[in-house]
Symmetry: C2
Subunit: 654 residues, 2 copies
């Protein structure tokens, strides 16, 4: 309570100033390659329906979001990503951006759009062939045919390879028998299933000629066009959820449902009329991961939507902090703005800085994906794997960042942050599932970690673990860090010539992060080998190293984020804006180093004095960036009309 002011005497806030940076300049830098698409999205208005969504029951909310889906579809925007043959422009990057922009306004709509266009129509595009495209794709894109992406089951979510639903081919009738053999084979959390879906892309174990061929996708009608449940199908309702209640998640069970041979999405595996199985991809494992490759776009979308929801929350909390005063200062008797308290700055500013870092990394990822998927011929498998790993890592970090930051914003707004009229509750509840859907974050980071290890092991094939340990200990050889942005960006770092030797020296920061990643990967490999050698068995060997491996993956993403930030600054031509971004980048990277300083210290990467210097630098950067708070959130470029929170009407200091 107010007693606290007795000892810590407070003074009034310093006057606002902007350091000459126009938020629109920042917006242009953040908007990046698809700036025009973002501008078009900003101009697209959804009606402000009454009552607000948070006052609707589940059924009313679902109906509203379905109606909004049609409004959004009518804008022509979601079609952009599809091939020209079905009315699109084949602009995958633009399609992604369009989806992600919904993250600012209506996350139920974003997810429902992602299910319909991204997963359902996306799977038909990627896994189907000419016949499927012709028969279903345009209807799906135009919302004449609503669909589901039925992969996850009660018993298997992350471990898709072990799903239990079967698709057994019968050459007599030339049909597949789709069946859920156990209660745990039930398809679960399936978007569009509870209310709207007519056709489902069902993932099932394919059997033909008495042999199993692994997971494949088939088109299975779950409702008749007039909305009745299809024979043999049981549809359940997942009911109320923490958030995203405008999305009708449901459950699907199949009791020997027959579908024609053409129902198989057969780009990567064909069944002839007589039941003969063929595939252009020989290895069943590679085939499986090729099919799962369709998920990468979903992960990129979720990452982007999580970032946009985070920006929305930060905009609310920062604007509130620039208006809300609490406790009288000792000098002039004025009450002090929340934004002037150091503890409040520490709550919001490092998170804001990391949000910038994530934005730049998201732009790079979108661009890389676009180029890879729209290039000629089949993408290079190595580049494809790298893209998947990058998407997995960024999705995990963006969504955890969203959960933590939106929570911090809620608390930073006190009781007001708990009221639905201030939007934060919905942002929090809607984004919460992002950390575990489209790939559980822990599983995704493990995938990243495994990729790092594989790259490492290949390099040292033939060395036994003792040799490996010696090499690692001597630091004589190491993991080759593959930088993710142009060499020229790094070359230009040298010419900055400022703050050399201090904690804001960019080369020092980069080397620190690279060294951490390298060391964590090397030692994870060593520990895995040693663990296997000590006879406790392979699970124990893995399990002991699991947290270490996840930390290596996280360190990798941290390094990629810093590189993306640097490339983003490098592309900024306005000197004042670039200077501001340099400070934001410092705050981002130094607050990460501060959080991990236990590791750096115990591995003798930094001295105790340097660790304290990092903490002081974070404080100093909070003070330095405090006058730019309004600029930094305005830079996100969220249209004022989209920020509906009562407490967050824009502050425009003179």
């Amino acid at each position: 309570m107010s007693e606290v002011i007795d000892v810590p005497q407070l003074s009034a806030a310093e006057p606002e100033h902007r350091g000459g940076v126009d938020p629109q300049t920042l917006t242009a830098v953040l908007d990046g390659r698809w700036a025009a698409v973002r501008q078009r999205s900003r101009a697209f208005e959804l009606p402000r329906d009454e009552p607000p969504s948070y006052d609707l029951g589940t059924e009313e909310h679902r109906a509203r979001v379905t109606a909004r889906l049609h409004q959004f579809g009518a804008s022509g925007m979601p079609q952009t990503a599809f091939p020209p043959s079905v009315g699109g422009r084949g602009d995958i990057g633009a399609g992604q951006i369009t989806m992600e922009m919904l993250g600012y306004r209506d996350l139920s709509l974003m997810v429902k759009a992602g299910v319909q266009w991204g997963l359902f129509a996306g799977a038909i595009t990627a896994l189907g062939t000419e016949h499927h495209h012709r028969t279903y794709l345009r209807r799906a894109i135009d919302l004449d045919l609503m669909g589901c992406f039925a992969m996850t089951e009660v018993g298997h979510g992350s471990d898709v390879q072990s799903i239990e639903t079967t698709a057994t081919y019968d050459p007599q009738t030339q049909t597949f028998d789709i069946h859920s053999p156990t209660p745990t084979a039930r398809k679960e959390y399936i978007g569009n299933a509870a209310r709207d879906g007519e056709l489902a892309v069902v993932f099932a174990q394919l059997h033909t000629g008495g042999r199993a061929h692994g997971v494949h996708a088939l088109l299975v009608p779950i409702r008749t066009p007039d909305g009745r449940t299809a024979p043999g199908v049981t549809i359940g309702d997942c009911g109320r959820k923490a958030g995203l209640n405008g999305v009708d998640n449901g459950r699907l069970t199949f009791d020997h449902v027959r579908v024609p041979r053409e129902a198989l999405l057969d780009r990567y595996g064909q069944v002839a009329a007589d039941g003969t199985y063929t595939s252009p991809v020989q290895s069943p494992t590679r085939r499986f991961f090729t099919m799962l490759g369709t998920l990468v776009r979903g992960r990129v979308s979720v990452s982007g939507a999580a970032q946009n929801a985070t920006k929305h929350a930060l905009t609310i909390a920062v604007r509130h902090a620039l208006q809300r005063r609490q406790f009288t200062g000792p000098d002039d008797g004025e009450e002090v703005l929340l934004a002037d308290y150091r503890a409040h700055q520490r709550r919001l500013l490092p998170a804001l800085a990391t949000t910038y870092a994530l934005s730049f990394a998201q732009n790079e990822l979108t661009s890389t994906m676009h180029d890879l998927l729209t290039g000629e011929g089949q993408p290079d498998p190595r580049a494809q794997r790298e893209l998947e790993s990058r998407a997995a890592g960024l999705k995990a970090v963006s969504t955890w960042h969203a959960t933590a930051t939106i929570q911090a914003c809620r608390e930073a707004c006190g009781g007001a942050g708990y009221l639905a009229e201030n939007t934060l509750p919905q942002l929090k509840a809607d984004t919460d599932v992002f950390t575990t859907f489209e790939g559980d974050n822990t599983v995704l980071l493990q995938l990243v970690g495994k990729g790092l290890l594989t790259r490492y092991s290949a390099q040292f094939e033939g060395l036994d673990w003792r040799g490996m340990a010696r090499f690692a200990a001597e630091n004589a050889v190491g993991v080759a860090i593959e930088r993710t942005v142009a060499r020229s960006v790094f070359e230009r770092l040298g010419s900055r010539g400022r703050r050399e030797g201090g904690v804001r020296d960019r080369r020092w920061q980069l080397e620190l992060l690279e060294d951490r990643e390298r060391h964590l990967v090397e030692t994870a490999a060593v520990r895995l080998r040693r663990g296997r050698a000590d006879g406790r068995g392979p699970f124990a060997a893995f399990n002991d190293v699991q947290p270490h491996l996840l930390e290596a993956a996280r360190a990798h993403v941290d390094r990629v984020l810093l590189e993306a930030f640097l490339a983003g600054i490098d592309g900024c031509t306005d000197p004042a804006c670039a200077a501001l971004l340099e400070s934001v980048c410092d705050l981002h990277v130094l607050s990460r180093v501060e959080a991990d300083r236990g590791w750096y210290l115990e591995h003798n990467r930094i001295s105790a004095a340097r660790a304290k210097e990092v903490t002081r630098a974070v404080d100093a950067l909070c003070e330095e960036l405090r006058p730019h708070l309004a600029t930094l959130v305005d830079g996100f470029g969220i249209p004022d009309a989209w920020v509906e929170a009562t407490i967050a009407q824009p502050v425009r200091p003179g």
Copy 2:
């Protein structure tokens, strides 16, 4: 995705075993002094209403919770805490426990009960006198008179001393004029205001005879007995919230509302008929904090309810982890339980251990409060301040722990954790506001930090800051750590004679935590003095040290938690149970040390080798406690019928 199993090969889980500890023995230890009251609460059943609350709109939910409030009232349990003169037993501890137990089942009911019996009737009891007790108290207790506690305003929440509502005495009419002079004077987030409240305890600036006497509380009717809004009062509705939608939070504005002279709750300040003001407490500041002292019980309740919600969430997540298998192990082809993955253990087990620590600290706090408030005469002011500080610290740490742990549990249950049928969404949403209501956590920790400083400064009165800095640097004198449990507990530590010198050495742990607290308090004092001396002004001096001061407060609570845990173990007579609790205590304290190891390293409190030893010990403790997971959550003693989550039906391994 499942690719991760390629490199890290997994083996099946080890068989369950319980190490001979009966969960009921644990429950008895955790239940503590008011075990019988807890047992009575466990026997009290609320009807399992259909549809479940999460399917109700706001108005239906409010109606249900009001009905449940009457059912709860009819049990006679909430009356326990009140004086015998109004039908109670004066058992404050029992009253607290009864309220907190609602945290397991219906947090809206818990909060509504807290508003009615704790805040509204509690304020009449504590701040009123004979007349008020006679006229209102029994009706309030029996729910014939529903009431509000109208303290917070739009403009002032934490800083109650600056609220703007006025109560101006008019000797002509012998009435007070209650008025909201500005828009920011509106009372905000007031429980019971939007729907049910008839009478409000209104906090306002008291004016009489042309002089201001600071904040006082008055009884102001806001509705007529037939439910119409009282003249001059405007009632608003806070509408939908993130959670707790069964509580009708509202807004109150007063337009020169007249109430009789007797409306003043006049225990600590009286206004005579002619307007003369008198008070038994001379200092206005002391008077203010004496009145706010009523808030301490609310904070203790919120802390307890947060802990109980945390236990509920952990029970769900742990039972799920003991049933859910994912990814096939390499040895026997069986799928591995989530509970066997180290990353999963690290998510749940340290949080579970800290929940035990918090429970023991909560028991101590409740007991201390009970003894202090039910003792003869006025409580000793120093003991009262100590109690308030302890309540503030524990409330902050318990509620942040709840937010983080319930979130971790939600994620640990994947998509299932997002479904309302699995309870975690409601636990998360309902407890979210706990970190900022009944005192914002940051403000509360600052209060704790200030208390530590004051105690410290008093010790060194007369030394200037240079002398202070020198003393602190030489570590020649230091903060006297006042241990919070009996000396005998510490004496018995010496006789354990086990694991000496290692990181599980209890004396080492205790000294480490004590040393951290002492150092942080001392250096905060030094920095504050130095900051004031350097001419940047008092606000800058405070602001630079604010995060440091909050860290000192947190270190203090950490030390208190460890002491409470040790006292709890000391009171356990079953050797196997005590041994299990010793390991849980180790995990709690070492995971805290691990989290703070950056600080310990940079202050040369531990070596790099020791820091790594701590991390290894946390891993080893996860492995050691893994077989006791079911026992540890069963030990919370939540009746099976209260754990409604579909995914969490009890596991009873043979």
